[in-house]
Structures are given as structure tokens and as C-alpha cells.
Amino acid sequence: MAEAPLVALDGLTVAFDGQPALRGIDFAVAPGEAVGMVGESGCGKSVTWLAALGLLPARARIGGRVRIGGQDLLGAPAAVLEKVRGGRIAMIFQDPASSLNPVHRIGSQVTEALALHRGMGGAAARAEAKRLLDQVGIPDAARRLDAYPHELSGGQNQRVMIAIALAGRPELLVADEPTTALDVTIQAQILDLLASLRRETGMALVLISHDLGVVAEACERVAVMYAGRIVEEAPVTRLFDAAAHPYTQGLIGALPPIDGPRRPLAAIPGGVPEPWAMPPGCAFAPRCSQRLSACDIAAPPTARMDALHSAACLRAAPALRESVPA
């Protein structure tokens, strides 16, 4: 990354009741870029951003450092966090219906965000709210301002959530499984919308998803997470052409192909380890087909293949790549 990062996470850790959920996340987002975070449920992809924005419950123990443009976020006073949340970093979630208030009209929920982050009120706020609904592709925006969330479909509610997120003109939008609850044709609409909004506003996007396919389409760079760590990071095309971590290879192999002969999928055996029963070494070792005896001793350090591609796997480390038979 040549530019100074917009947001930088350094050694971010989270533990709930003594059980680690995040075990040291180092990650940076550059201004305007689109990065995906992929992994299975419980891998920590959502917790990473909830922790960064101070949205976790008080019992969560958070360590490490989160900075946005030089400003520290962890342990920052509420006033600072409130300016950042929604102002510089906005977040949208999987289920739009539960993120919106069912007893308030769409318009007042959008103007609330405008009042908070841009000090707008009255007719100006209403006009801006209409513009935002237009921008996210809600037909008949002027009338929709007076509608309640239950009068809109799931896809339209997600558009409203995106409009609210845009109200503060964020530099980064964190979208946590934004299309998982939606139908496939509506998923295509929302991904298309996110791409065009990025072109229009130049904001950066972090797309959290369990679906490698979705991330591959919407993002330039991907981080793959497993059991609270980033196990591989690479540009999208690189990841699909030359995944270095056996877990990433497994995720790609588990996707049913859309053509060619049908054969059994290369499923990853077993399941994700529970936080209270983490293996001593690499968390993926018990499921890994390429495991070495050294994998059980200590968590592998992150090996760097080049400036943009890294993987936390002993086999990916350059010194080992030549000496270990494939």
C-alpha cells in the first residue's frame, strides 16, 4: 500500500469472558479501496469491525490499536467515537429490517443521521434525504420518505440503510454480510449499487462476507480469516490463482463449479475449533491436509510472498517452500 492507510488495525485482540475471539489482527484499509473479509461464522470477521468502532459490549476485553488518520479509536472518549461512527466510518448489517426502527418513517430516520453528522434540519434535511434515497435507487423517493420500513421490501430497506450510512459522507463503509438476507436477484442489485456509489463518492469499502464469490466481484483485495486470525491476504485475482493457505484453497475447492464434470466437492473435513479448545499451534492444523509436525507447536508467523500477498502458514514461508515436497 503506497498511500497512508485510512484505517489501520494493529494487533487487535478481543476476548469474551477470557475466551479469545480475535487473536491479533493487523490490517489496513487505504482511502477509496474495496477490501473483502471472508471467513466462516465465528472467525471474527464481524467482531473485528465491531471492536474497532467500539460497538462491543463492555465485557469484551479489547487490546491492540485502531487508528483512523492518526487518531486512536480504542479507549477514545465517547464524543470522539460518535463523530467517527457514521461520520468517517459507517456500518451496515445483514438484516436491514432489524436495523431500522419500525415505528419511525424512513424520512425521519434518514434526517436524524443528517442532523447528527451534518447539522442539517428542516426542509434542507428533507431535500437531502430525498436526494440520498434517489442516489441509492429507491423509486418515487419523495413519497417513500413518509413510508414505514414494513411497507418496503427487504432490498429497499437495505437501500435505506445504505442511504443512512451515506448521510454522514463516510470515508469508509463497512458492510457486514449486506446481501446475505436478500434474494439472489436483489443481491445483484445491491452489489451493483455499492460499486456505483464507490465510483461516485470515492469512499472505501470493507465487505464482510462468508461468500468468496460475492467478495471476488465487489473487491480488489481479500483477507481470509480463520479462528480469530487473518490467515491470508492477497489481491482477488491472486487469491484465486495462487492461494497459499490450505484453508483458502479449501474454501475455493468447496465452491460448487458452474461448469465441467460433476465430482465430489473438495470439502474441508471437520469443523471450526471452539474458542475454549484452540489447538496449541496453527488453528487450522487439525483439518489441514498438508499439515507438518511443526504446525502443532506454535501458531505460524505471517509469511510474505510479495508486497501484496501474505499467508500465515509454514508451507507458505519462502524458506520452506523449496525444501518441503508438495
Binding site: 445483484a188 442489485q189 452489489l191 460448487p256 465430489p264 466437492l265 474441508i268 469443523g271
Partner: protein, 328 residues
């Protein structure tokens, strides 16, 4: 039971519900399933694809006799389905089983896995339960000692395996799987899809695989039917439909498959899925269809066979064909 009859033959199924809008609103008739015919052969899988509200789950319940169709008929092994709740229906339920999306919701949290797998054997009075439970657990890739476990002690994938073991206990001839992998993680989805294919090879049951995921459907199915608003709009071989979908809606679904390294010209549909209570005239897809003509708004296209054997319900998809036979 007639050996030459298809395992399951459903004809022109219609299921209506009355929906009331608001507290004192007038009841509106909703046709959840509007004339669906399908056929499942022994040892084969029919994939049923569509978006939420298209009637695919209702179709699944209709073919199992869990709901009675308002019109149409279902015959199983050549015999019409007995009426729900009758002794004959209960006896037949052993031959047809259902697997749902959420394995935790489908299992009883207070009973061990072994007890739950043994339950259908007790209900249908099938002997030597202990040995059979062990066999079933092994067949779905669980260890026999996991019979002692409770649902919350298993992972999502293991729970779905337990649900499958229970469904297979009575050696069903037909398995209806309603979104059996949607609630599972990607790596576990692959395990369950492999297992389904495997079990079908071993036990030879017919499967109705209901899913919104065309990739998953291709992986496990021999035939695919695409549903839109209560009707089948296209039916054929999975590869044929994925490579060359004929119906504009099927084309949209195929182009919406997110696939790494394949940035195709995606067809972005305008608008939302239609409300079944407010069905458009003519072809239900015409308000969102990129190629609709005036005819499409007037006349409902019938599901007709094309020269290549594919069934398509679209006025335009049949245009290039020889003069279509007069609609029956």
C-alpha cells in the same frame, strides 16, 4: 405400488391462501402454488430453484401430503396420496421424509441424537433399533459414540448429519430437502452436498432438493426446475440451463451467480420480487422482464416442451421454434 410408475408424480398442483391486509381488510386470495407439475424418478434428484415467496417450499409440503392441494393430484409409487392424518398416510410417511434448513430447530434439544434417530424406528415399529442407529450414524459420517450427544454439543454440520440419519431411519424412497445447506458454513455445505450424493448412490432414494442456490442445485441434481411466483418457468438438465438458460428469469438467476474470476455482463433486474397477492396479468415476470412484449402482459405463457426437450414457459423463448402445438 407399480414399479413402472414414477416415484412421485404431481400434476397441476394449486395451493391458495387467504391473506387479510390490515385488521379489517378484505381477504385477498394468494396463489402460493399455481399449477405446478413435477415428477421425481427413483434414485434421481430434482432441484427446485427460486427466490423467497416463489412457492418452492409450499410445493415441497404439497408433494409430501403435509398440505392438501386445492387442485391437482399427487401420486406416490403410482398410488394417490392418502388424506393427511389417516392411518394410511401415517404409514406412508415412513417412505417420504423431509429435511429442513435449520438443523437445530429440527432437533429436540432435550433428547440425545441416538434417541432422536431411534424415534422413527419406534413409531414405525422397526426392530433392532440399537444396531440400526449405529449403522445410520456411520452412514452419515457420525461416530456411533456421538449417539449420546445432545444437539447443542454438535457443530452445525454434525447436526445436519444427525437430521439426515433420522430422516433415513425408515429407509424412505423420497427425501424432500428444503434449503438443507443454507444455514451452514461454506466448507460444511460442501460436506453435506457430498453426503447427499453419496447417500443417494447407496440407498437409491429420489430427492427433491429445494434451494435458492443454483450452484448447489447443479452439484446434486439430475434435473432442475426454476420457479417464479408459483409456477415452473423452466425445467431441464442442470448444465443445459446453466449454460444456456431460455427463460429470461432463468437467465437473470444464472447471471446473478457470484463466481470468482467470471465478471460477466450481469442482468440487473429492475424492481422487487412481485407480491403473490398482487400477481401481474399475463406472464407474472413481465413487469421485470427486459424483453417483454405486449403479448406477455395479456397472456400467460404455458410451460411447453421445446425441440431440445427443455420445458419453458415464455412466449419469446418459443418464437424460433416451429409453430407451437395448440395449448391444451
Amino acid at each position: 405400488m407399480r414399479p413402472d410408475a414414477p416415484l412421485l408424480d404431481a400434476k397441476d398442483l394449486v395451493r391458495r391462501y387467504d391473506m387479510r391486509r390490515g385488521f379489517l381488510g378484505r381477504a385477498v386470495e394468494v396463489r402460493a402454488v399455481d399449477g405446478v407439475s413435477l415428477r421425481i424418478e427413483r434414485g434421481r434428484t430434482l432441484g427446485l430453484v427460486g427466490e423467497s415467496g416463489c412457492g418452492k417450499s409450499t410445493t415441497g409440503r404439497l408433494v409430501l401430503g403435509m398440505e392438501t392441494p386445492d387442485q391437482g393430484s399427487v401420486s406416490f409409487e403410482g398410488q394417490p396420496l392418502p388424506s393427511p392424518g389417516s392411518a394410511a398416510w401415517r404409514a406412508q410417511r415412513a417412505r417420504m421424509q423431509m429435511v429442513y434448513q435449520d438443523p437445530l430447530g429440527a432437533l429436540d434439544r432435550r433428547l440425545s441424537i441416538g434417541t432422536q434417530v431411534a424415534e422413527p424406528l419406534e413409531i414405525h415399529r422397526i426392530g433392532d433399533r440399537a444396531a440400526r442407529v449405529q449403522d445410520l450414524l456411520r452412514a452419515v459420517g457420525l461416530r456411533p459414540d456421538q449417539a449420546e450427544r445432545y444437539p447443542h454439543e454438535l457443530s452445525g454440520g454434525q447436526r445436519q448429519r444427525a437430521v439426515l440419519a433420522r430422516a433415513l431411519a425408515t429407509e424412505p424412497a423420497l427425501l424432500v430437502c428444503d434449503e438443507p445447506i443454507s444455514a451452514l458454513d461454506v466448507s460444511i455445505q460442501a460436506q453435506v452436498m457430498n453426503l447427499l450424493v453419496d447417500l443417494q448412490e447407496r440407498f437409491g432414494m429420489g430427492i427433491l432438493f429445494i434451494s435458492h442456490d443454483l450452484r448447489a442445485v447443479r452439484q446434486v441434481s439430475h434435473r432442475v426446475a426454476v420457479m417464479y411466483l408459483g409456477r415452473i418457468v423452466e425445467e431441464g438438465e442442470p448444465d443445459a440451463i446453466l449454460q444456456d438458460p431460455a427463460h429470461p428469469y432463468a437467465r437473470t438467476l444464472v447471471s446473478a451467480i457470484p463466481h470468482p474470476g467470471r465478471r460477466v455482463d450481469r442482468i440487473i433486474l429492475q424492481g422487487d420480487p412481485p407480491n403473490p397477492a398482487d400477481r401481474p396479468s399475463g406472464c407474472a415476470f413481465h413487469p421485470r422482464c427486459p424483453v417483454a412484449t405486449a403479448l406477455c402482459a395479456r397472456e400467460t405463457p404455458a410451460l411447453k416442451r421445446r425441440g431440445d426437450g427443455r420445458l419453458v414457459a415464455c412466449h419469446l423463448a418459443h418464437r424460433d421454434e416451429a409453430l407451437p402445438r395448440k395449448a391444451a
